[in-house]
Amino acid sequence: MAPQKTETLPIKTASDIVAARQAVRLWAAEMKFSLVDQTKIVTATSELARNTVQHGGGGHMVMSIVESGIHQGLHLVFEDKGPGIADVEAAMRDGFTTAGGMGLGLSGSKRLMSQFTIETKVGEGTRVAVTRWK
């Protein structure tokens, strides 16, 4: 699954989140994802990038186009060196929030994407990788 194209963006401020959404929208459109799929991918990007800034204290996003057999996919990795998540299972539940949010960012992104993995360690950081296949 060697990526065909890859790019890294900083995710540190609110305007970085906007820039990340725009970059992902552009790539998703170039890859000819349907309008609904584009919207889903961009919305997941918005959620995960915001978590990176808000909870992870900033980090970066790596976006790449991947291939599996005849399928193309958009692969996004959000990484930070923040506090990590103590109870991932709880964080993945609808409505769980430690910051007065809706608590739907992680669980919602999982539903919006084809694949979702989260690795996190308290005191070291969090890495969320998602893919949407065409």
Partner: protein, 294 residues
């Protein structure tokens, strides 16, 4: 005191005169700055440089001896950023000091070629550092300008319009972040009270992404409006957004939504006890009445 610093002291007026004369057309914008202003800036800056070089290091300008120079450079950059100079033009102003300084060094140190090379290197390094400082200060000013413009936009882009007696519309365009929501919410609530409105239509056709934060902000606004006695209708939810919202798990069941602003308006009229009738239809019964008379 180093040779360079000595030369700065001794030939201050000559160097400034040379510098002003030699400002190339590349950095000379007569449309943006007058000769007199430019001369004044050069004189002030060079006097500070000469003073700092007496006691301060000549290899960096971060020390306290160079504070005045840094301040002058920053204020020159700031005023130029606002006047519309490019960053290159602004840095060139400082870089063009190399020519008069170098030629003065050559003149004064003709008998000491090795010393000349050293002093020239030091002088050029120093001037480069000042130019870099100018560029950074220039960018900072630009960023501040942009931030202020964004704030202005924030207020400009959230108009609350009265569609009819008791009916308001709030077309939201762009990203609905926390700062924006605060402004939107305040102006909506204020207008609800002022106009004694019963219904507010929030149109989100112009919002590119509806994520949980935007949804939460919308829900907060709606709750606040309810407390003021007004019901909200959300319009402009495009099909792809509707699907995404459902997948995210956001529950809009308690909210009245319409895909089009026109439908929202029709509903609002109905709720406030008004209907829109076509003029043709309104005229039709008259005709039949007239017909009956016949």
């Amino acid at each position: 005191m180093s040779k360079l610093a000595e030369i700065f002291q001794k030939h201050q007026d000559d160097i400034v005169a040379d510098w002003s004369k030699g400002m190339s057309s590349a950095n000379r914008r007569k449309d943006l700055i007058s000769d007199a202003d430019l001369k004044a800036q050069s004189t002030e800056l060079f006097a500070a440089i000469a003073k700092a070089s007496k006691t301060g290091s000549l290899s960096d300008i971060e020390g306290s001896d160079w504070r005045e120079v840094r301040e002058i450079l920053s204020s020159i950059s700031a005023s130029r950023a606002k006047q519309g100079f490019t960053p290159t033009e602004t840095a060139s102003f400082v870089l063009s000091l190399k020519q008069p300084v170098n030629s003065r060094l050559r003149k004064e140190m003709a008998k000491d070629p090795e010393g000349l090379i050293d002093e020239t290197t030091t002088a050029n390094g120093l001037i480069d550092k000042m130019a870099l400082h100018t560029s950074e200060a220039f960018l900072t000013t630009r960023e501040q300008l942009i931030a202020r413009q964004q704030e202005d936009m924030l207020e400009l882009s959230t108009p609350v319009v009265k569609l009819w007696d008791g009916i308001l519309a709030l077309p939201v365009i762009g990203t609905l972040d926390s700062a924006r929501t605060q402004v939107v919410m305040e102006s909506l609530l204020k207008t609800i009270v002022e106009t004694n409105s019963k219904i507010a239509i929030i149109d989100i056709t112009g919002v590119p992404t509806v994520d949980t934060l935007v949804a939460q902000h919308l829900l907060k606004t709606i709750t606040a409006a309810r407390l003021m006695g007004a019901e909200c209708i959300i319009s402009g939810i495009r099909p792809q957004i509707a699907q995404t919202i459902v997948h995210l798990g956001i529950n809009l069941n308690d909210i009245i939504t319409k895909s089009k602003m026109a439908d929202a308006f029709a509903l609002a009229l109905q709720r406030t006890g008004k209907i829109v009738v076509s003029m043709n239809k309104a005229a039709a019964p008259k005709k039949t009445e007239h017909g009956k008379d016949n």
